[in-house]
Each structure stands twice: as C-alpha cells, then as structure tokens.
C-alpha cells in the first residue's frame, strides 16, 4: 500500500512538470488551434540554455530561467510572424510540415553547434539538495523533485489566472473563438497569436530549464516530450487549461505506477495506450468543450 502511494506521489510530482511542458502546447494547439511539432525543440533549447549559462557563467538554472524565458518568448514571436502566420490560413497539413521543418532545423542546428553528446547540468541548487527527503506518513518525498514540481505548479496556476482572469487572457480566448468578432471589439488577432506563440515557447523552455536538473541534455531530447505533450493536451481536452493539468498529473501517475508494477520499458506505451482507450471512449478528451 505504501509502495503504491509512493509511486502515485512520485508520479504527481513528475506530472506537475509535465503540466508545464504541455501547457505551452495547450495554448498554441488547444486554445489557438495551431499545430506545433517543434514544441519539444523549444524545450530542448531551454535545456541547452540552462546548461550553457551554468557552464559558462555559473548561473543556477533557477535564476537562468528568467533570461531564457524572455529570449524564448522572442523566438516564439519570431516563429509566428516569420513562419506560422504564412501557413495559418491554409491546410492543417501545411502547419504540420512547417513545424516538422522547424523541428529538424532547430534540432540539427544545435547538433551542428554542440554535437549530439549528452550533457549534464551539475552542481545546481536542486542537485545539492538531492538526498534530502521529507518523510510524510511513511512516504518519502525527495526535496529536489518536490521543489521543481511546486515551481511547475505555481507557474501553471499563474498562467491559468492570466488566461482566465486578465484582459489579455480574455482577448486570447476571444481570438480563438471568433477572429472577426474579436477584431470588431479592437483586438489585434495577429498580436494575440504572436503572444500565444511567445508564451508557449517561453513556458516550455522554462519547463526545460527545470527538467535540466534531472535529465541529461542532448539535441534529440525534445521529440519524446512533444508526443507526450500532445497526448496530454488531447487527453485533457481542447481549450481546457485545467484539463491539461489533470491529464498531466494522470500521465505522471500512469508512468510511475507502470515502472513500479509492470515493465519500465513500457512506461510511455502505457501512457499512449491509456490515451487511445480514453480517446476512443471520449474523443473530445476528459474536459474538452468540443
């Protein structure tokens, strides 16, 4: 029983980080209905940024997060204005291909610059805390992952409030629901889309910076997180930010329970298996509105 609870708690902590990975996609894909297969590559850039700032300037990832988020916001805006705006009106195929091209381009530019070697961000604040555990009713909580999960959760809630409670967020939602009507009330759809891409890129890059504390950094790391993020957003349901959070926590739990009780090699297979089952029973996702 304790073992199961331990697995669930571990899964919830990972899930909070997955939520941060997926929420950028929830905005771009779920809310604004644009496809981005280079999502994980934005995350990879965040991880490389964390590694680079830590190895050259000695900046801790928890601080490096801020400049990286700003730079990646800019990159997201550039990707939208220079590439995605041109394919937005066309077939969804064009969007898929444009972002697959972006994926190959970003990934291999990093390969060209830094080679495919595995790198590790070491001697960070979180790494120094490793081994420190909190004992809670017989369940051990590793402090690094707990802190990371809480940061992820906090950022997620901030974003939720931004989208659900502020004028900017409401403008974003209005643009996604009816572009023409949004224009009539003085919202610039293009500015909104650019902002959505900026936010999406910045958030997933921050997730990458946090994950760089726990995962090795290499140019091909993105794709597995991209597909995981797609499964999470689709599972949570289009347009539902909170659905994304719950789906991400669920995915974290499925993974860690699979690792403990079934076969570790199949942890992603079980996630996608449950996605297929839930997707077939409820194609709009758990909390989707349409």
């Amino acid at each position: 029983m304790t073992e199961l609870l331990q697995a669930v708690v571990n899964g919830l902590q990972m899930g909070a980080l997955y939520a941060l990975v997926a929420v950028g996609l929830a905005i771009i894909w779920g809310l604004m209905e644009m496809v981005n297969f280079a999502h994980g590559e934005f995350m990879m850039l965040g991880m490389f940024g964390a590694w680079w700032l830590s190895s050259t300037l000695g900046l801790d990832p928890l601080i490096a997060m801020v400049p990286i988020a700003l730079v990646m916001y800019g990159l997201g805006v550039v990707v939208y204005t220079q590439l995605m705006r041109r394919v937005q009106r066309g077939d969804v195929f064009a969007q898929i291909f444009a972002t697959v091209g972006l994926l190959l381009f970003l990934q291999n530019t990093v390969v060209a610059g830094f080679t495919s070697d595995y790198r590790f961000v070491s001697d960070t604040v979180l790494a120094r805390l490793s081994g420190v555990n909190i004992d809670l009713f017989g369940i051990r909580l590793g402090l690094p992952l707990l802190i990371a999960g809480l940061i992820g959760l906090a950022l997620f809630i901030l974003l939720y409030l931004l989208i659900d409670r502020t004028e900017i967020g409401l403008s974003l939602q209005a643009t996604s629901e009816d572009r023409e009507a949004a224009m009539l009330v003085g919202i610039h759809p293009r500015r909104m889309f650019a902002m959505a891409w900026g936010l999406g890129a910045a958030l997933v890059a921050v997730a990458g910076v946090i994950l760089a504390n726990f995962f090795s950094v290499y140019p091909q790391v993105g794709l597995q997180f991209t597909v995981l993020a797609y499964a999470i957003v689709a599972l949570g349901g289009f347009g539902s930010i909170l659905g994304t959070l719950i789906a991400a926590l669920l995915v974290g739990v499925v993974q860690s329970v699979t690792v403990v009780y079934l076969a570790p090699a199949f942890k992603d297979a079980f996630v996608f298996g449950s996605y297929l089952l839930i997707g077939l029973a409820r194609p709009q996702g758990l909390f989707g509105r349409f």
Binding site: F97, N108, A112, D268
Partner: protein
C-alpha cells in the same frame, strides 16, 4: 472540360506525358550501368534509396493524399514487414519473394485491426493516435523475445552458386548487389505507381477523395468513412511492408530502433509534400531532390570536422519550411504548363490554381 476544342489538347498532353514517362524510364534503366563500369557503385545505392523512398511516399499518399488522413506512424508497417520476412527466412528458410507475400498479409491484417477503432478520431486526434501506435510499437520491438528484442535478427548468409539461386535468395556477391537492388527498387516503385494509378481511378479512389473533401457529404451518400479510411491505410501498410522486406534483405539484418526510426515515417511524407501531396509523381520528384542531398553531403563531408553534424537535415528543415510557407501544394502545383507554353488559353493560370484543390484528379 469536354468541349471539342479542349479534347485534342488533352490528347496531346497525354501523349507528351507518355513520352516523358518513357524517357524517364529509359534514364532510370540506363543510369546505373556507367556507374557499374566505373567501379564506384555508391551512386547506385543513392538511386536505390531514391526509389525506395519514392515508393514509400506513394504508399503514404494513399492515406495522406487520397484519403486526407494524417498518418504519422506508417513506419510500424515497415517494421512489421521487415520482421515478418526476416522471421520466415530465419525459421523456415523462406525466400524473400514468399516473404513479400507473408509481410504484406501480416501488415495488412494488423493494420486493419489497429486502424479501424481509431478511424473514429478525426484530424489531429487521428494523427496523435498514429503517433501513439508508434510509441507503443517501440518498446514491443525492443523487448519481444520472438523477434530477439533489441539484439535484432540476422538474415542467414547463403552464398549463391548461380544467378538463378541468387535471384531467389536475393543475396548477391560483391559489386553486383548495388546494381540488382537498384533494379529491384525500381521495379517495386513501378509496381507501386501502377497500383496507385489503378486505385486513384477506381471507385475506391473516388470514395477516398470524397471522404477527404467532405466526410459528412460522403457519409450522406452511403460511403462508410471508417471502412474506407481503414482500407486506405491498409494500402499504405502494404507498400511500407514491401519496402521493409527490401530494406531488411538489403541490410541483411533487422533492428527495432532502425526499422522504427522516425526517418521512415517522416522522409516519405516530406518527399510527397515537396513534390505534391496526392499527386502520382509528387513523391518521386521529392525523393529525387531530397535523398541525394543527404547522401552526397554525408559522402563529401566524409570524416571532416563537420561530418555527422546534421547539416543535411538543416537543409531539409529549411526546404520544408520554405515549401510549407511558400508553396504548400508542392512543386508539381507550380504552373509548369503555362511556363512551357503548353496551355496558352486565357485563364489557364486560374485553372492551375484550381488544380490545387483537386490535385489528384488532374494529370
């Protein structure tokens, strides 16, 4: 369309088309011979890969181009085909030619079983479901004992005594291997072209396009979209399984991470879209442009400081983004006819633009 004036022009167009096809075929047949005589057979391998990817691209065109469903994981059928033929060769000593039959049958049955349930999903959801299948296939390939897990399967070596035997086992000594495999790929590519053309012009092809263009409308006239989407993906699976058999006998081994690699899914689609989605010759054009880039770059960079740094893929990325942003309907959708003065009639520019919407029906 059927006005008397337009009819002869079309006949002339089709005669030109036949001439172009014959010229292309002649070039394709003659191409490897001087290479064989020069002794540097590397470019036969490039040609082999061009036709292999063009064939897979046409295969992907069934589900992606004709039926309009985005399949992100056709490589699982390449893996199924490769493993089926390899198992038959390892355990029962079957020739690859029988292996083709077995591989196609197994892949089509598996495809039908796993695809029918997810045809309920549409658009992005279908695409993610195919990715999910691929993700599930990866650990199965790496751990299943029957197929030897990540240790892979090796095709037993059988030094042939004569040409006849070599043609049955598809194992060729030394320098003749590149030449023969080039012609095998060419032959299978032509077979795939014929298959695609036949399906495209049959009732099946019209059903596929009807579902792609308007699923509700197609269902209203009694087309069961789920059955025909499954059928389209089974055609894709059959072509990928064939490609898998060729690849596995060419490499003489199957490893799960190799046959389930993303390239087998992405490169055929990229070739197709670069050339023209849903068009018969789109995948070939795309493959002729893209495949040599990677091969020539990796050959010229050699062991230099920039080797293995993914420069070829950076070029792919730029080309793909450029095509997606500038010409999402592919190179074949450019108004070639007008540029070469074949249809000088007014409004032909608009006709070319119109051809974009129902690309598969034309040419």
């Amino acid at each position: 369309m059927t006005t008397p004036a337009a009819a002869p022009a079309r006949r002339r167009g089709s005669a030109l088309g036949w001439a172009a096809a014959l010229t292309g075929l002649t070039v394709a047949i003659v191409y490897p011979i001087p290479i064989q005589m020069s002794g540097y057979t590397y470019f036969q391998t490039v040609g082999f890969l061009v036709f292999l990817y063009a064939m897979l691209g046409i295969g992907w065109n069934f589900i992606g181009g004709l039926a309009g469903q985005f399949d992100f994981g056709p490589n699982i059928f390449l893996a199924t085909g490769a493993y089926t033929a390899a198992l038959l060769a390892v355990h029962f000593n079957w020739s690859p030619w029988l292996g083709f039959v077995g591989a196609i049958l197994v892949s089509v049955v598996i495809c039908a079983l796993i695809t029918f349930p997810v045809t309920k999903l549409r658009g992005h959801y279908f695409a993610i479901a195919t990715v999910a299948m691929w993700m599930i296939a990866q650990p199965i390939g790496a751990t299943w004992e029957l197929i030897n897990g990540s240790r892979g399967l090796f095709i037993p070596m059988k030094p042939a005594t004569g040409l006849g035997e070599a043609l049955i086992t598809l194992q060729f000594p030394g320098r003749s291997k590149g030449l023969v495999y080039y012609y095998i790929a060419l032959g299978l590519f032509i077979a795939t072209v014929v298959l695609f053309r036949t399906v495209e012009r049959s009732k099946l092809g019209y059903y596929f396009r009807a579902i792609r263009d308007d699923q509700e409308g197609a269902e209203a006239i009694g087309i069961d979209s789920r059955v025909y989407k499954t059928a389209a993906r089974c055609l894709t699976a059959a072509v990928f399984a064939t490609g898998g058999v060729v690849y596995c006998f060419w490499a003489q081994a199957v490893f799960p991470d190799q046959v389930l690699e993303m390239n087998w899914a992405i490169l055929p689609m990229i070739c197709t879209v670069l050339g023209g989605l849903g068009r018969l010759w789109g995948p070939l054009l795309g493959a002729i442009i893209l495949i040599p880039i990677a091969q020539v770059m990796s050959a010229t960079l050699g062991a230099g400081p920039l080797a293995g740094r993914g420069l070829d893929v950076i070029v792919y990325g730029i080309i793909i983004m450029g095509v997606a942003a500038g010409r999402p309907n592919g190179l074949l959708s450019l108004p070639w006819a007008r540029w070469f003065g074949r249809t000088p009639a007014p409004g032909s520019g608009r006709a070319a633009a119109g051809a974009v919407e129902d690309a598969p029906a034309r040419r």
